[in-house]
Amino acid sequence: MARITLSSSLAPFTEGVLELELGVANVRQLFQTLGERYPDLQAQLEAGIAVAIDGEIYQDALLQPIARDSEVILIPKIAGG
């Protein structure tokens, strides 16, 4: 099971849950599972969430594999000037 950590900014959408373990094979599955478990989070996931998988940040990378023992962190997407 991959260890999933949510940025503290997402707490309001997950009834405060910021850490959980999920058996997901890639980012798309991760978002799907989270969206089903926390409907409020759905909009946030769509509105732009990046994931850090084992320290590397990925934006818009739904097919990025997640290993069984991966550490995954959800953070807000970054744009810029």
Binding site: S8, G55, E56, I57, L63
Partner: protein, 764 residues
């Protein structure tokens, strides 16, 4: 699928040198064509009517008199644009609420700021168009307005959006609010952290909105054909994103809009989103002629996005020996008329230069009756960092520790756990601090009323969607077709340099051009310091594809196994003496035979670049304060930054110097000045004071290169970091010069003199 290309150290021939930019000659001869330099036969001139009120209900708009004026060919108002649902929708990689986009480009129920478009006309001449605007009758019901962020957050403040409820608060609030969104970041236990603290410094800061100040006003030319195809020439940081936004608001197929980017006369984030483009296409459709729209400087200030003004509270606790035990901040950001300030990025940048166990940051995104904010170089970060680095400096002074030493004791490094998410990878923050401390500037003597300040900045840098094509021409030269705009930095040169390096050929063998939206797949904006990182990665991939195809072609031509063929120094040659020998073939030789041996050779990359490496910078500034007038003069400035790898050092220096200069303007004199009536009072370069040549010294630069492991040449990106530190560095320098801590930006003479006089009065 995401792409990451690992860094390989190797001997470089071209990367790191300073060849001349391919757009140079056109720009010094006047031949380069910018937004306003494009014209079409039969074109009309489009002009926008803007609200004179900060907040007003639009009861009616009567355009009949304008339409009756000879020479007027079309008028558009809110009625010409479809209502969009209130939901975040994707355009490329931006998630935007198109309900807001349609309302910002053309007011619907209400005008929400001075300068908000309410109608637009297309006419045979500019004079006729202006006359027509004067004939449009708009009936307003003026409403109470609010432009101050703290006032806007109070219950009972005038509401911009009656149906806006603060997001990110559970349970959902019962009353609507100007606070569009509240977000929190942090880790550890700040309460416990402050208990451990032996010294605590707490301060409140306020900043005004500042404008990107690009010298080229927004300009576009649209031509809509009766068959439903539209062509658009516009000055943009992302032609694919503009196309997507226009298609969405005009409900057109993306493939039916072709956007050709012009040379862009500065953007800095201000040309990330459409303003007149969709109006011009609609006017062209209704008039049956091409329509050209060029903003005046006044329109640029009143109608396009500044960066937010903000209210910032910072509290830091520390042990006597200089270890930070807790850090806390509240960031209240003006979003302008619609939600979407960069407060989330500001929240993440606030403390991410330090290795902290206990952090808590609250951010509020607040709508006010001002233009909708747009990105500006490291959006939001300079505002948060002004507060944090001011407090850090005050803390160092309280503890009697050298400000750089204090930062070093708490500096973030590889493995540091950020409070917003991941651990940091290999970074060069400490190296920039040490380089700054070792720089002669840091130990140079100072005179009376002079002071030195230091501050540091962090920016994520990003990757994202990028495409390019590399075509081998019949004579062995190559054309590199790029999809990311060269906003000024010289990225065309950098991309060509990386391709030439890969192929082992001369820089001038590769001609880089930026293609229109029909020549390549989607590219994200040139923003977030991504271009040289992401487009560079794409260019390298395309070059390596070309090399692979060249090796295969030579193996066939020379009838040797593929493994025997190596690509070295611009030619195919035997891997070594152990393999079947053959006479080498140069690029030109292969190119000449290509057509007869299976066709030409090309490389393509369609990637979503990942693995951007964070950038850090340390700035040193000396100021002199005239205690009788409050005038602050910048005497000396040094910008140190880890850029990963400087592909073209001269253009990297240019980014550091330009960013620092913008930060200096922000600190000293730039601000939006509004009257009681909510009307902007300084919409021009006379009273919106960006630095002039005689205001600035030479800006010394030190480039630190800690390679980003996720880029073939180690590139991190460099455009945004340099604007983050100046405001704080200058505040710290002023404090060291006159012993007064300024917490209100800008540090303009009246403010500085007031502070001096109040301090003197307090002494008495």
């Amino acid at each position: 699928m995401s792409t990451m290309l690992k860094y390989q150290e190797k001997k470089l021939k071209i990367v790191g040198t300073r060849p001349l930019r391919p757009d140079g000659v056109d720009k010094v001869t006047g031949r380069a064509r910018f937004g306003a330099d494009y014209n079409l036969p039969g074109q009309l001139i489009g002009k926008v009517l803007r609200s004179p009120h900060a907040h007003a209900r639009i009861k009616s708009i009567d355009t009949s008199a304008a339409l009756a004026l000879p020479g007027v060919k079309a008028v558009v108002t809110r009625d010409d644009f479809a209502e969009m649902p209130d939901e975040m929708a994707a355009v490329g990689e931006l998630m935007i609420n198109f309900r807001d986009v349609t309302r910002n480009m053309m007011a619907r129920e209400k005008a929400l700021y001075d300068g908000h478009p309410v109608a637009a006309v297309a006419a045979t001449t500019e004079a006729v168009a202006k006359a027509a605007l004067a004939l449009i009758k708009v009936e307003y019901e003026v409403l109470p307005h609010v432009i101050d962020v703290v006032e806007a957050m109070q219950p009972g403040a005038p509401l911009l959006h009656e149906d806006q409820y603060t997001q990110g608060v559970k349970p959902k609030p019962e009353r609507p609010s100007n606070v569009a969104k509240r977000l929190e970041f942090g880790h550890g236990d700040v309460a416990a952290g402050f208990k451990q603290a032996e010294v605590i410094v707490e301060r409140e800061f306020n900043t005004k909105p500042v404008h990107q100040g690009y010298i080229e006003p927004q300009a576009c030319l649209a031509s809509y054909s009766a068959d439903g195809q539209a062509e658009l020439w516009t000055s943009t940081q992302g032609h694919f994103v503009f196309r997507a936004q226009c298609a969405k608001v005009l409900q057109m197929d993306i493939s039916k809009i072709r956007v050709t980017p012009t040379e862009i006369g500065g953007g800095f984030g201000g040309k990330n989103n459409i303003y007149n483009e969709a109006l011009a296409i609609t006017l062209s459709r209704k008039a049956g002629h091409p329509v050209k729209m060029v903003m005046t400087r006044e329109e640029v200030f009143r109608g396009t996005g500044p960066t937010p003004g903000a209210n910032v509270k910072v509290k830091i606790g520390c042990t006597r020996d200089g270890k930070i035990t807790a850090a806390q901040a509240e960031l209240n950001f003006q979003a302008g008329a619609f939600p979407g300030s960069p407060v989330n990025q500001a929240s993440m940048c606030a403390f991410t230069r330090y290795d902290l166990a206990n952090v808590h940051v609250v951010g509020n995104d607040v709508t006010v009756n001002r233009p909708k904010v747009a990105a500006y170089r490291a959006p939001g970060a300079p505002i948060a960092v002004f507060g944090v680095e001011s407090v850090i400096d005050e803390m160092a002074k309280k503890l009697g520790i050298d400000p750089i030493e204090f930062r070093l004791r708490n500096a973030a490094k590889e493995g540091t756990q950020t409070y917003y998410g991941p651990k940091l990878g290999p970074i060069g923050y400490i190296q920039t601090l040490e380089a700054a401390r070792a720089h002669p500037h840091y130990s140079a003597p100072l005179g009376p009323n002079q002071g030195r300040g230091v501050a540091t900045g962090f920016w994520f840098n990003i990757g994202n969607e990028t495409t390019c094509s590399l075509n081998l021409q019949e004579d062995g030269t190559l054309t590199l077709m790029l999809g990311t705009i060269d906003v000024a930095g010289g990225s065309r040169a950098s991309m060509a340099m990386m391709v030439a390096e890969e192929l082992g050929i001369a820089f001038d063998r590769v001609r880089p051009v930026v293609g229109d939206t029909s020549s390549l797949g989607f590219n994200f904006l040139t923003a977030g310091s991504r271009s040289t990182f992401a487009s560079g990665m794409a260019s390298v991939i395309a070059a390596r594809q070309v090399i692979e195809k060249l090796r295969q072609r030579v193996a066939q031509i020379r009838e040797v196994p593929l493994e025997a063929v190596a690509w070295k120094d611009g030619q195919a040659q035997p891997v070594d003496s152990s393999v079947q020998q053959f006479s080498p073939m140069t690029l030109a030789e292969i190119a000449r035979m290509a057509g007869k041996t299976g066709g030409t050779v090309a490389g393509h990359a369609e990637i979503n670049a990942q693995g951007a490496g964070p950038g850090f910078g340390t700035h040193i500034v000396d100021v002199e304060v005239d205690k009788e007038t409050g005038a602050v003069r910048i005497l000396r400035y040094t910008a140190v930054q880890d850029v990963g790898k400087a592909i073209h050092p001269a253009y990297v220096e240019g980014q550091l110097q330009g960013g620092a200069a913008q930060g200096i303007g922000w600190a000293l004199n730039e601000e939006y000045v509004y009257g009681e009536d909510g009307v902007l009072q300084n919409p021009g370069f006379l009273d919106y004071r960006i630095p002039v040549a005689s205001d600035l010294p030479f800006i010394d630069t030190v480039i630190v290169e800690v390679p980003n492991p996720n880029h073939p040449y180690g590139v991190r990106g460099c455009g945004e970091v340099p604007i983050i530190a100046p405001m704080a560095a200058i505040a710290n320098a002023i404090e060291n010069a006159i012993g007064l801590r300024l917490c209100e930006q800008p540090f303009s003479p009246p403010r500085v003199l007031k502070a001096i006089d109040e301090a003197a009065a307090a002494k008495r």
